[in-house]
Amino acid sequence: MTATDFFSLMPLIIIATAAVIVMILIAVKRNHSVVAGVSLAAFALAFLSLFRITAVTPHTLPPLLIIDNYALFYMGLIFAASFAVTLLSYNYLKSYNFNLEEYYILLLLAALGASTLAISQHFVSIFLGLEILSVSLYALIAYVRTWERNLEAGLKYLILAAQSSAFLLFGMALVYASLGSMNINDMAQLLSGANLGPLALIGFALMIVGIGFKLAVVPFHLWTPDVYHGAPAPVTAFIATVSKGGVFALLLRFFVAIDIYNYESLVIAFSVIAIASMIFGNVLALLQNNVKRILAYSSIAHLGYLLVAFLSGNNLSVDAATLYLTAYAITIMGAFSIVSLLSGKEQESDKLEDYRGLFWRRPVLSAVFTAMMFSLAGIPLTAGFIGKYFILSAGVHSAKWLLVIVLVLTSVIGLFYYLRIVVAMYSAPTDDMPSQPGISRSVSFSGVLVLAGLTILLVWFGVFPQGFISLIQNMVSSLQDVYLSMIV
């Protein structure tokens, strides 16, 4: 390995080192704040290091890894989100009195796994990244052992994720069996638009199952609400942003590389998945009374929207998907921040009832939450609107009218349940409401930091998105060109 290789892997090394440091620290003396601080520093450092790496991109570490601008962008997203999750977790966990410090090791490792996915170009590294991510998540989800729900969610995630890993692996094996390579570039060159044999098709189908599970799209979505609901709020935020971000980065890279748009059957499969996700996700969320479950179902729908961008298959689709994913990450992170800030040891504030009349007691928090809901619903002045617009634009460019119209109609359904949350917050408070300790707790500095940052980003991207768009164009547009040129 050369110095450049090491240099380009800097962020991963930083994160991995931080995990080791935390382990050592725990061995020396348990201190929640210090551990959290180290993790934060690691994420910040890793994030900053990305800017230096732009100098050497694209850089390939054959055969497993490739570090290009696209990967850098997604890593940036992952680190930023992890940073926010760390802050939230610190806030969330500090009221518990059992061993908290290992949590941060798991968090660091999970982020490491997700970043690995972003830079993978080989089945081996993909598998490794995915498993690092998953195994850390099992533990994270079940971390607060005192809560039955945590254990239940952890178990469900463990079994089902392992099952889906098995599908993914079997799919990979079949693809390997039929193509003879596990490297994405090689596969792309081998395929070059050639027809796929049945073995490869089944392989791809099984891989879709594995990836679909991680993305929680219909029909692999059944676990989502339970896990979102059961996991501690910061972990849920992590699943919704980092885990899905990493997997989606992989999905884009892999299927763009092999130019999926040449294979109608795969496109149809994804279209079916996208449409089903949009419809089922939104309809399932319709009358839910638990905010975390609503957000879980809505995430199914949002992944469906993302797939629309992906399926558009024009020069906008990667940009649109990335932009949307970023906007979604900001928004959902904001939403879960509030849930987690209002929750604590006493209870998890996740029932709709808990939010009734919130606006009149915590106006700022509610205003932020409202903004997040509007962003999810895709209403202007928020990043969500820009994202949704971009997806629609990509869809219209490719004349994917069916997908686009389903998107529009289902987002109307979506509107309803986002508004339900808003309505609850703005409805007049009644006196006979039980007092909730979580609701009245003041928000710590770290919480304010996260919320303020997210809200500013949300509105900034919503009103002045041009800089953000340029960034995305610079960073990720290359993806398609790179692979397209390679095929030729």
């Binding site: 081996v124 390997y176 059961g230």
Partner: protein, 102 residues
């Protein structure tokens, strides 16, 4: 050495995989469920080996090693979790560990 056609191997792996799946779907005891998953993952590993053999590459076997390692990690975490669940629920019946629904 008589070479076995890859397809046979894949069929074997597939059969194993489906067996694991069936176990996953019908068993209630979480331990057995975990075992079924191990079967599935190993079936996938076997498929890799057969594929590697077809192409005459070591890649498949390398992949199998990775799979082995990761599944060990997974089982470790899984068993830990099962321990906690047994503490909390006093049962290993997967169906009873389902408070959340809807």
């Amino acid at each position: 050495m008589i070479s076995i056609p890859m397809e046979f191997g894949l069929i074997l792996a597939g059969t194993l995989f489906v067996l694991g799946l069936i176990g996953l779907m019908v068993r209630r005891n979480i331990i057995f469920v975990l075992m079924s998953i191990e079967i599935m993952i190993n079936a996938a590993g076997a498929a890799f080996i057969f594929a590697g053999a077809k192409w005459g590459e070591p890649d498949g076997q390398i992949m199998f090693l990775f799979i082995l390692a990761m599944s060990a990690a997974e089982v470790a975490v899984g068993l830990g979790l099962i321990l906690q669940i047994y503490h909390k629920f006093q049962t290993l019946d997967g169906d009873t560990v389902s408070k959340m629904r809807g």
